[in-house]
Symmetry: C2
Subunit: 441 residues, 2 copies
């Protein structure tokens, strides 16, 4: 049997006869010659058959093959500079494995909702193929980065017992006569674990039942969350810039073809190296209240920035724009951030926290902080926020028994993939997106 070769590896077999197993994307025939473009999971290749080489029966079969029919072909690998991938296949045989009548995604334009209704098929097309191969690389880069730095993977639970911060954005389920809630973050479970392993992370799906319809929201998304014992806000910021830079460099190095398919301007990614610029919240507020920026937000119809409040999407865009790499905004007012964040000892109304904003208007990709490690202070904050102390008893234990300063952050994978691939809608950065309007397929 002829050796089966994946399309991306054809170059290693120049002049040889090989088999390729793939799917038909285009067919063109003129007289005694037929061209079929085939794709497989690794790339695309043009095949050429002449009447003389394959006979009229095969030529007719090629001519009749419809989009996304599966086929096994054999032929000789020939270098061809004009061909995609640099090689074409001079065919000896062409056999259809599975036909494809009335394939629902025509080469013509479809609306995105139609395409998402056919996500299980749309995955086969060049855009989704390229985006999801970048996603694969991003996720593996993160796993390697964590492992090489001796972080221990702690898979945090999805089913959690307490609706710690209110149930409005939580998915709830019956759990053998109790109530359980789908996790929004593994952080609470990582903090005790970092006291066992020094450096830990979780990396799994998280859930928000937010009734938000923006292009920046999914109800189910993946998040990487590192947590380090004996660490401060500065340590978390250093890890964040190192990790983001590592991911971008890996994708530039190993997914260049995919970025080309997506027509991504890679010069905008090449500048993503440490150190990232740092702005305190107060510096950011001063920028946002400049007259030209107030006017800009107004013209865009965005809500005006109010000093002391959290940043909105437009504020993030304005702050990120002057920089060729992500910018880190640190030390927000305590009251706009989560209860567990350590106050700045030099200014207790500011939290030792950081948000990392991607360039080019892609918004926040990371949120992190140093955590309160003093048990009394944490207990007081839980009470101030009106949270049930009983639900946090085990979480407080990490402070009662050998507490240490610790810090960490969460990074949303879809936001990073969106930025790196130049995809504005997060729903295209995950294989089967879940939004307020979509639970199918």
């Amino acid at each position: 049997m002829t050796q089966a070769v994946r399309i991306k590896d054809l170059g290693r077999h120049e002049g040889q006869v090989v088999a390729v197993r793939g799917w038909v994307t285009h067919v063109r025939s003129k007289g005694k010659i037929a061209f079929v473009v085939l794709r497989d999971g690794s790339g695309i290749v043009q095949t050429v058959a002449s009447l003389q080489d394959v006979g009229d029966e095969t030529l007719a079969r090629m001519d009749a093959a419809t989009q996304e029919s599966s086929a096994v072909v054999t032929g000789t690998v020939r270098a061809d500079r004009r061909a995609p991938g640099g090689y074409e296949l001079q065919l000896k045989s062409f056999e259809v494995t599975g036909d494809s009548p009335d394939y629902p995604i025509a080469p013509k334009e479809h609306g995105v909702e139609y395409l998402l209704d056919h996500r299980h098929l749309w995955l086969r097309h060049r855009g989704p193929w390229a985006i999801l191969r970048v996603r694969d690389e991003v996720e593996k880069a993160i796993r390697d980065f964590m492992y090489d730095r001796e972080f221990v993977l702690i898979d945090s639970p999805i089913l959690t017992p307490a609706a710690c911060e209110g149930t409005s954005t939580l998915f709830e389920t019956d759990y053998f006569d109790e109530k359980a809630y789908l996790s929004q973050s593994g952080q609470l479970y990582l903090e005790p674990a970092c006291m066992a392993f020094d450096k830990v992370y979780c990396f799994g799906p998280t859930f928000r039942a937010e009734k938000s319809k923006t292009r920046r929201h999914l109800t189910e998304f993946w998040m990487i969350e590192p947590e380090m014992a004996w660490a401060t806000l500065d340590d978390a910021m250093a890890l964040a810039e190192e990790m983001v830079s590592y991911i971008v460099a890996r994708v530039l190095d190993r997914r260049a073809e995919e970025l080309k398919v997506l027509e991504r301007d890679t010069s905008k990614l090449e500048s993503v190296v440490p150190p990232f610029p740092r702005l305190s919240y107060d510096e950011a507020a001063a920028i946002l209240t400049r007259p030209e920026n107030v006017k800009r937000a107004e013209e865009a119809g965005a809500p005006p920035f109010v000093p002391g409040s959290d940043l909105g999407a437009m504020d993030e865009t304005i702050l990120g724009e002057p920089f060729d790499r992500p910018v880190m905004i640190h030390r927000y007012p305590v009251e706009v951030k989560a209860f567990y964040m350590q106050p700045d000892p030099e200014r207790p109304d500011r939290a030792l926290c950081v948000d990392v904003i991607a360039p080019e208007g892609y918004g926040e990709i990371i949120g992190g902080s140093q955590r309160i490690h003093d048990p009394e202070l944490l207990q007081a904050r839980i009470a101030e926020h009106g949270l049930p102390e009983s639900a946090f008893r085990w979480y407080l234990d990490a402070r009662r028994y050998g507490t240490v300063p610790h810090a960490g952050f969460g990074m949303g994978i879809e936001r990073v993939v969106g930025w790196i691939t130049g995809t504005r809608h997060l729903r295209e950065t995950i294989p089967y997106p879940r939004t307020i309007q979509r639970l199918y397929p």
Copy 2:
């Protein structure tokens, strides 16, 4: 400031003065000398302080330090063959960072339910530490294995729309006025994806609301599921034995210390290399119906094996026992397996499926099959099983448009970690276990 070093790296600093940040596990003092054993996330080390070196105030502080107090110490690294890890620290200073009054896990024996109630603290102890570091290595080994073989990660959704095979073992949640169910497997989502990427996998949490209280059941567990286009049962079996062997070799190579802590007999793991023995279901049935095996099951109080039915835990133990590596049982009767399995063309009452049984009585770790790729046959099976065709329309699409033979399997991570670490109860192989009786912490 003195350089902080992790305990496992002390050997690189022999003769130097370093800082160690960790937690106290034992204290012993006699007169003018005190010993404190410290742990950090990387290992344990004995420290020694003399009155002459540190003064009486520090000596008193050491003497007063309770279990799991956090401390920063400085001292000189000294080789000591009798010490755990081969080095000890001659102290210059000892500072408590966080005290630990009445630490709830004493060195004495506790029941496992008590320990699981304190799982957030129990993680700090040697057994859980070792098991979860093996788990980390197993998961990273799988990621590397998949990546090196060019499988593309396809994160399959947790929230799914249809209760395809009945709701009795599904967790249900409200999804914006619809019903959603937590996924039991990503397979249905991977099959269409393998037609886009050739080779794909998912690796995430899966959920079974089973009312089962055995040591082999968790309600939330992690599963790796590879799926390959243009693949047969034989390809799936070859991948399974290669992957399992790779994982075991990685753990033996990189987690030897942890296996030693767990007193695992590693000679039982060293023999785990391809090829794995293969038994057809019919061969397995012949073994199980031998009088001595019937008697054995009877004596163990296990239900008797009935030819034509699925295998029970005792049957798996009997079948696995003669072998020094996992055994692959293939071609079960069609009626005891899932509707989507390809029938054996040579014997259509048998499915092209495989279960991989771990040695030493650890039971099934993998279940897989070749999938039906003919759309008419799949449609007929869906109808025969009384399943709602509408819920499977998108799944059928993978066969309607360029179908190809494809195969894959699922491997439960906790079962593999349990086997490799010699842990009988799966609840100890995941950081925060979820069982019918446990949703806390």
